[in-house]
């Protein structure tokens, strides 16, 4: 066996390897990009769900924007208050007192409450159904029931119940806005976690038409407006809604007389 050729191969390959290793080591020194070490720390403190609620491509981009001072701490509605405080201390930013917001589904038109208008055998997504007269339910404003909101939730905080209505887990919900954007009927809204009284209806038809399609539709009878002295209830476009800045009873509905039981208390008292 010719050992010299073997030695040649080992030496030449080893030599080449050594040269490149040196080059790489030099390049690492010369071309090093200084990254602010704060970015990594901030990213660690952010939720890491990449939900997109900040409007940036993910938590990493959000961290860069925060460190560069382009945005303030209110940008992330998802992170815990304590984490935000820590980021604030790290970057010398003022902590913004953000009230935690959660999604509220403004519809009670589940399978038993709302009339069924037809059999639907098209694409089983809410968006797909909007092309074909809006699916099976007769209400043109309420929940369609195919769960586009469930599909987009990055926090597993929204689920369909037996009635075919989405239910928000108020503890898990971070207010990232994804479900709000996904709903083609705009049935879901974000509200501070301290708000509990809602008119769960989105039907803007006249009372007669609304009542015809759904048992629990708001018929804009204004009984709630008259019953509540604080002025927290208003009726606009045939639909009552609660102005939580004015309504003075946090966990109490103004009247039991709502004929369609559209006014409902959502969530537990004293949630934070």
């Amino acid at each position: 066996m010719d050992y010299t050729s073997l030695a040649q191969a080992v030496l030449s390959m080893g030599g080449i390897g050594l040269v490149f290793a040196l080059l790489l080591a030099l390049a690492n020194k010369k071309l090093k990009v200084e990254e602010d070490p704060k970015i990594e720390k901030v990213e660690d403190l952010l939720p890491g769900a990449n939900c997109g609620a900040c409007g940036l491509p993910g938590c990493s981009a959000c961290a860069v924007a925060l460190v560069n001072g382009k945005v303030d701490l209110s940008i992330c509605p998802v992170a815990d208050a304590s984490d935000l405080e820590e980021i604030g201390q790290l970057l010398g930013l003022e902590t913004v007192d953000t009230k935690r917001q959660v999604a509220v589904v403004l519809c009670q038109g589940g399978n038993t409450n709302v009339k069924k208008k037809a059999e639907y055998d098209g694409i089983k997504t809410c968006l797909g159904a909007t092309f074909a007269s809006g699916g099976e339910r007769a209400c043109n404003y309420g929940c369609i029931g195919y769960g586009d909101c469930v599909a987009v939730c990055p926090f597993d905080a929204i689920h369909m119940n037996k009635e075919g209505l989405p239910v928000v887990d108020r503890n898990k919900c971070t207010g990232c806005n994804n479900c709000v954007l996904a709903c083609p009927r705009n049935v879901i809204e974000l509200h501070p976690v301290s708000s509990h009284v809602f008119v769960l209806c989105n039907n803007k038809d006249s009372g007669k038409n609304a009542r015809q399609v759904c048992k629990t539709a708001c018929i804009a009878c204004k009984i709630c407006v008259k019953a509540d002295e604080s002025g927290g209830f208003e009726v606009k476009d045939n639909l009552a809604f609660v102005d939580h800045t004015k309504y003075d009873k946090e966990y109490e509905i103004p009247t039991e007389k709502c004929p369609t039981k559209a006014i409902v208390i959502v969530g537990d008292k004293g949630e934070k």
Partner: protein, 439 residues
């Protein structure tokens, strides 16, 4: 002779036997009509009548702002009961003027008033078309007066009349060509004058030999009008496919027919134009094919705009017991209805009632990557790729793949062996792409 056509496309069964030999029947006046404020492409109309106003048939009741819009007229004499939201046959709901008939004088053209159209100038002709609220009656309802006024830099040299009626089941255009050939040719001559062209082609699919014969006979005495028999293939009646078949020009991506020097109109539109110009008659009625195996006596009906589907179907003997699905339009591009209370609009070419047997619910399987849809797509798109991009919410990718060029003809779904609702997904994609562009 080899018949001209376009590349790709599909061959659905025709099902024209239901109503192709039935004369157009005039339906009695409906008791009430619902006239949608949006029946055309463009800005919606604003009503110029109020609740409780008394209107006369043919009276202007709504007009839209802007160039691309169309006027609407009262289809019957009566009282405006309300202006409110009602179910619209395009699958949503919309503002409509609800008129309850009071049995007073119906629209009646004074025969002495026949206008000598040859004395009218181009501008006067177009104004008359606009005043009568004429829109494309093939299904898209594009305002006709807009088509008749191409921008100055676009030279139009050929006018094409669409008598293909490539949708299965529908026979309204066919019957119009057989029964109203004179009026169609009159309309064609008026449009030729308005457009200032000397050449007109009337494309008719070869499965309507009687229409081809009659149209040829009537058109012989006029210069420049040629009847062009075309191969039977879907979507032969789509504007871009028809231009390719008739004059062998391809409309580029994102361009309009006028960019290649052509204007296309439906035969129904030609009749509308003729009546508007010669008899000053606004577009208040149209021929609707009520057909399918779910209706007792399929017919071609001349019905007022705004007539609820229910009344038309009752006029045709009512629904059979096994009727399961009602569509406005043909089976390929028609819109499924959930109620029979929707009104006939200017674009309603047919009401198709199908039994469950003809409209089965198909189970969807995974894409086989077989490329059948690619072979079927007359716009040379990759439907499978676009629908997959939409599945994964990659709307930018869908746009790059040309989703916006989709004409929504449905060939891909027809061809797909896995029953994937491809065109429905592409429509979702188009909606999302438009939303992204706006924001």
């Amino acid at each position: 002779m080899k018949l001209s056509t376009f590349k790709k496309g599909v061959h659905p069964r025709e099902y024209k036997q239901f109503a192709e030999n039935k004369n157009i029947e005039k339906m009695g006046l409906p008791k009430e009509v619902f006239v949608p404020l949006i029946q055309h492409i463009g800005t919606p109309c604003t009503p110029i009548v109020k609740k409780r106003d008394v209107v006369k048939a043919g009276q202007l009741i709504g007009e839209g702002k802007g160039f691309i819009s169309s006027k609407i007229h009262a289809p019957i004499s009566g009282v405006v009961k309300t202006i409110d939201n009602f179910a619209h046959p395009n699958g949503s709901s919309g503002q409509m003027i609800h008129i309850v008939g009071n049995g007073e004088a119906d629209w009646n053209a004074d025969p002495a008033e026949n206008v000598d159209w040859e004395k009218l100038s181009k501008e006067e002709l177009i104004k008359k078309v606009n005043d009568a609220g004429i829109v494309g009656m093939g299904g898209a309802a594009f305002p006709s007066h807009v088509k008749l006024q191409p921008p100055k830099d676009k030279k139009i040299d050929v006018f094409i009349i669409n008598g293909c009626e490539c949708e299965p089941y529908l026979t309204a255009d066919h019957r119009m060509m057989v029964e109203q050939a004179e009026e169609i040719i009159l309309g064609v001559r008026i449009i030729m004058k308005a457009l200032d062209v000397t050449k007109a082609l009337i494309g008719i699919e070869n499965n309507k030999p009687d229409a081809i014969e009659i149209m040829t006979k009537v058109s012989q005495s006029y210069n420049g009008i040629t009847i062009l028999p075309l191969k039977v293939k879907y979507p032969q009646g789509a504007e871009k496919m028809l231009i390719k078949a008739a004059v062998n020009r391809e409309v580029p991506t994102g361009a309009l027919p006028m960019d290649v020097g052509a204007v296309v109109n439906n035969v129904g539109t030609a009749i509308g134009v003729a009546e508007a110009v010669v008899k000053n008659k606004p577009l208040i009625e149209r021929v609707v094919t009520v057909t399918g195996d779910g209706v007792k006596e399929p017919k071609n009906v001349l019905a007022r705009i705004g007539t609820p589907f229910r009344e038309l179907i009752e006029f045709c003997g009512g629904l059979k017991e096994d009727a399961a699905k009602i569509l406005m339009g043909g089976p390929m591009m028609g819109v499924t209805q959930y109620t029979m209370d929707v009104p006939v609009i200017k674009a309603t070419s047919g009401i198709l009632c199908l039994s469950r047997k003809s409209a089965p619910v198909l189970e969807e399987y995974a894409c086989l990557q077989c490329g059948t849809c690619v072979n079927a797509c007359p716009m040379n798109l990759l439907p499978t790729r676009i629908s997959r991009a939409v599945d994964y919410s990659k709307f930018e990718m869908a746009e790059q793949l040309g989703a916006m060029n989709c004409i929504e003809c449905g060939c891909c779904v027809f061809a797909c062996p896995s029953n994937i609702p491809i065109v429905q997904k592409i429509r979702i994609g188009k909606l999302k792409i438009n939303e992204l562009k706006k924001s």
